[in-house]
Symmetry: C2
Subunit: 264 residues, 2 copies
Amino acid sequence: MATVMSNGHSATSLTKGLRPPVQHRLDGWQNSATRPRNQVLASLPAEVWGRIAPHLNQSLLIPGKVIIHEGRPVDHVYFPNCGLLSLVMCGRSGERVEAGLSGRECMAGGFEAMGEASAISRATVQIAGTSCWMSAEAFRTELSWAGCLQEHLLRYFQWQLAQAAQYALCNRFHCVEERLARWLLRASDHVENSEIFITHEAIAQMLGTRRSGVTVALSTLEVAGIVNCGRGRITILDHAALRSHACECYDALRKHEHRLRGNV
Amino acid sequence: MATVMSNGHSATSLTKGLRPPVQHRLDGWQNSATRPRNQVLASLPAEVWGRIAPHLNQSLLIPGKVIIHEGRPVDHVYFPNCGLLSLVMCGRSGERVEAGLSGRECMAGGFEAMGEASAISRATVQIAGTSCWMSAEAFRTELSWAGCLQEHLLRYFQWQLAQAAQYALCNRFHCVEERLARWLLRASDHVENSEIFITHEAIAQMLGTRRSGVTVALSTLEVAGIVNCGRGRITILDHAALRSHACECYDALRKHEHRLRGNV
DNA sequence: AAGTCTGTGTTCGCTGGCAAACATAGGGTT
DNA sequence: AACCCTATGTTTGCCAGCGAACACAGACTT
């Protein structure tokens, strides 16, 4: 058992104690007026929400699980409530690198579901959580109602594009330590916690570098008292200092995201 | 005079003989039923075209000219007829790298114009040509008519995102020679010509590398008889061989683009 | 023709990170 | 407790490409 998954997560990670159990219980919004934590769903007008809610399901996001496969048609659209999804580009020779993050401010698969297109990138769970989801078909039906879902979708596209373009720059110019610091800060922002449960191996794949390189860079940060590392856990002790180690892309991405929210 | 422009093109390049004059005269579509060469405009139904045409202007694309500035609001939407635009991400310390190409199959600025947002990346003319353009305001007005322009816009977004994500991978893993070969092939496809008028410096900025690195890589290709270089000109002699030197991203991008067209 | 600027050819030391090991420790299983 | 698997710590050789020069040649200007 505990088979190694191709992205550096072990299948037993979530439940067997390497990582603590998911903090947030499954919300009971199905039977109440309460909205999910996902901000796209939360910000929909009552009318649209009323049409969508019956089609929504909820499930756990298990670290390492691939919820959207690159090159395949997208069957489901995901609205994360907590935890973190990573959009990963996959090369022919097994190269992998992150091209975007998707948390509760966002959705995953909407882009492809819209046009019945196949996925460009893989969506992998990086940090445990929960997510609402609905079928791509139901999603398209709602889109055809010409409600404000379209508007949300466009805003989400803009955010995805901004992320991917920023990653194109970052991956070209910035060193492992800078990218690592950037990733930790972004992850911390998304899960709203200084404690991040993830392995060096998983980070390495997102940064598109060697696992040992991540370990070395983390050691540097730990010696400097900026982070504290445990087995499958990284705790940020000094956000400001970490920020000074991160490349400008952290600020750029925050700015893009802020604009996304501001335009709502 | 002939001031050096920040992207490696000289201001006099187009008219003073380094590059030959633009091949395509300004089309006379304004006064006729003829459509521009731009494929987005060409594929619009007559009804939409009828509304848009009065708002369209045409201008030359001068190599080196920045037509959309990153961080600023977008005033105009461009529909290239020939030539090539490059979407460039700019770092704080002057780092520059391409995050997408835009030719006559595409448009530039539509994304930002739609929501009155500021541009994420800079759009620079890389290869001389002509382009139709209209004001962002007129563009938004047409979008509000709920014609099929929206659909084209979404398809274009999908294409931009696919490009940016592919570049994120490519910039991380592939060496200068592979990226150079990829770029030359893509450029050749766009301008539908084996002869490409561009300097090593401009290519270097798009690949996010040193100019001398481009020269070295080109020398290798020239010795192998795959390309022929002149001052400000590169001619592809053997497309198949060049393809074998390019990274997989060339095929991936072609595939994405093909899907874009196929979905029309 | 002379002068000047731009574009190209070439070299060389340095370094970040790749590629590939091997060692050790945490945590679960039996 | 013994065992095993996974995650982390650490090292070493190696190389692509950076960073920085310098030289030469094409093409325009005067």
